[in-house]
């Protein structure tokens, strides 16, 4: 294992000389993403908050995508998934992804329905 690390990230765009170097490189990248998230969260640019994509503010999509990017690098480089066999990697990654997409889809659609019942229904709940 010691020498079996794959040392390139961004599909080979950045190559590191040693595993230690790669770790610090990934840290720098993750810190950068967190900083971008915090800055966006504080200034909340109007162009991102006023645009809606699929019923959600664009800024929230940006946050979610940046989170998934962070999760990818934590799992791939810190948890060494990059060095595992692709069969193991797929079993670990796609099982939760499939179940989570399924669950969130059902729950959010249901919640939206309940929201409409509260809003347009005959029963007043804010009295």
């Amino acid at each position: 294992m010691a020498d079996g690390h794959k040392l390139e990230i961004f599909r080979g765009l950045v190559k590191f000389k040693s595993n230690t170097q790669k770790i610090w490189g990934v840290l720098a990248f993750l810190t950068l993403i967190t900083a971008v998230e915090v800055v966006l969260g504080i200034i909340k640019p109007a162009s991102l908050t006023d645009t809606y994509v699929l019923g959600m503010k664009l800024i929230n999509w940006v946050f979610i995508i940046l989170t998934l990017v962070k999760a990818y690098y934590i799992a791939w480089d810190f948890m060494h998934l990059r060095d595992e066999k692709s069969s193991l990697r797929r079993a670990i990654v796609w099982t939760p992804i499939f179940l989570v997409i399924y669950l969130t889809f059902i729950l959010l659609v249901e919640a939206d329905y309940i929201y409409n019942v509260y809003k347009d229904g005959f029963v007043s709940w804010n009295f």
Binding site: E37, I42, T67, I92, L107
Partner: protein
């Protein structure tokens, strides 16, 4: 078939000694656990999303809830949580460096990296405890209406939040907290709020600079501010003073927000705490040379997987609780 030890097991797939998927038994089992744990957390976060979409127009705005930084006064939304996130990522880095040093059989390096990881974990758990304390203690105070909705107060001239103590009138109080030692019956009641409802109502009527803010989020994505007349009308619906947050009352808005905050960050904090304990055990094992004698540091790698997972979960909690 026979109980004697057979040789040449490598010729048979079923003979044992295989590593399916190229991962050792321990690592594979750790991954099993992590995947199931990931699904548990996903369930929590999906439930959070469910409740939030249910009350999408009245959900609290996280920027207005988590605004404090220890040792600093003022309004600093998100700064401290971002710092906590960085601490956790940093301790993840020292953990992966420990794993790397373990592969190279550098005992001393592993010791120091494990030590740094434990310290990072302790700082994070401590920060979370502080965050809980601040959240429970509350900020400005609010009123709760008959329907369980929250009314907050804003200064009309500056637009800043007004604390109850800023404007509440002082009525010589007829109510004191009932303790076990007072009176015939050994009842006691929870701590009274620092100001009573009557004091808040009187103070509000006297100070024309105070307006009421409801939970409703308007088109600009901000909480709706009522004008003076509507505020006075709304005030009649108030039934009690709320200071701070617990599982039943929450001055920041929807009580479900507080429930999920306690549940999700609490469950995550429990994971971090267990991780710290496990890391300490491994740290001492490294110190006394257990893995040096065993000839490999795979145990550090397995615990590392758990530690990174805790970091991974926090990344999602950070996004869905504080950012989105």
């Amino acid at each position: 078939m026979n109980s004697t030890v057979t040789t040449g097991t490598e010729t048979s797939v079923w003979g044992g000694g295989n590593q399916p998927l190229g991962a050792s038994y321990g690592k594979l089992m750790m991954w099993f656990f992590l995947v199931s744990d990931a699904l548990t957390f996903s369930g929590f976060l999906a439930a959070y999303g469910f409740s939030r979409f249910k009350f999408i127009e009245t959900w609290p705005i996280a920027d207005e809830v988590f605004t404090h930084v220890p040792f600093f006064h003022g309004n600093y939304p998100m700064i401290y949580v971002a710092l906590m996130t960085f601490v956790l990522i940093m301790s993840s880095v020292t953990m992966v460096l420990a794993v790397d040093a373990g592969h190279k059989m550098k005992q001393n390096a592993v010791i120091w990296y494990m030590f740094a990881t434990v310290i990072g974990g302790i700082i994070f758990v401590g920060s979370q405890a502080w965050e809980w304390g601040t959240f429970i203690k509350g900020d400005h105070g609010a009123l709760e209406t008959k329907g369980g909705r929250i009314l907050q107060f804003v200064k009309a001239d500056t637009g800043e939040r007004a604390s109850l103590a800023d404007f509440a009138a002082s009525i010589p109080d007829d109510r004191i907290i009932h303790e076990r030692k007072n009176g015939l019956w050994f009842f006691q009641e929870p701590t009274l709020t620092s100001v009573s409802l009557a004091e808040v109502v009187e103070g509000f009527k006297a100070d024309s600079n105070i307006l009421i803010r409801t939970e409703q989020i308007n088109e600009e994505g901000e909480k709706t501010l009522l004008d003076r007349k509507a505020s006075l009308a709304k005030l009649a619906e108030a039934t009690q003073v709320v200071e701070g947050a617990n599982l039943i009352h929450n001055e920041y808005g929807s009580r479900l927000f507080a429930d999920f905050f306690f549940f999700i960050t609490g469950f995550h904090g429990f994971h971090v705490f267990s991780g710290v304990v496990i890391n300490i055990i491994i740290f001492f094992n490294v110190v006394i040379g257990t893995y040096e004698r065993r000839g490999h540091y795979e145990m550090v790698e397995k615990v590392g997987l758990y530690w990174h997972f805790v970091d991974l979960v926090w990344v999602f909690v950070f996004t869905f609780f504080y950012l989105v």
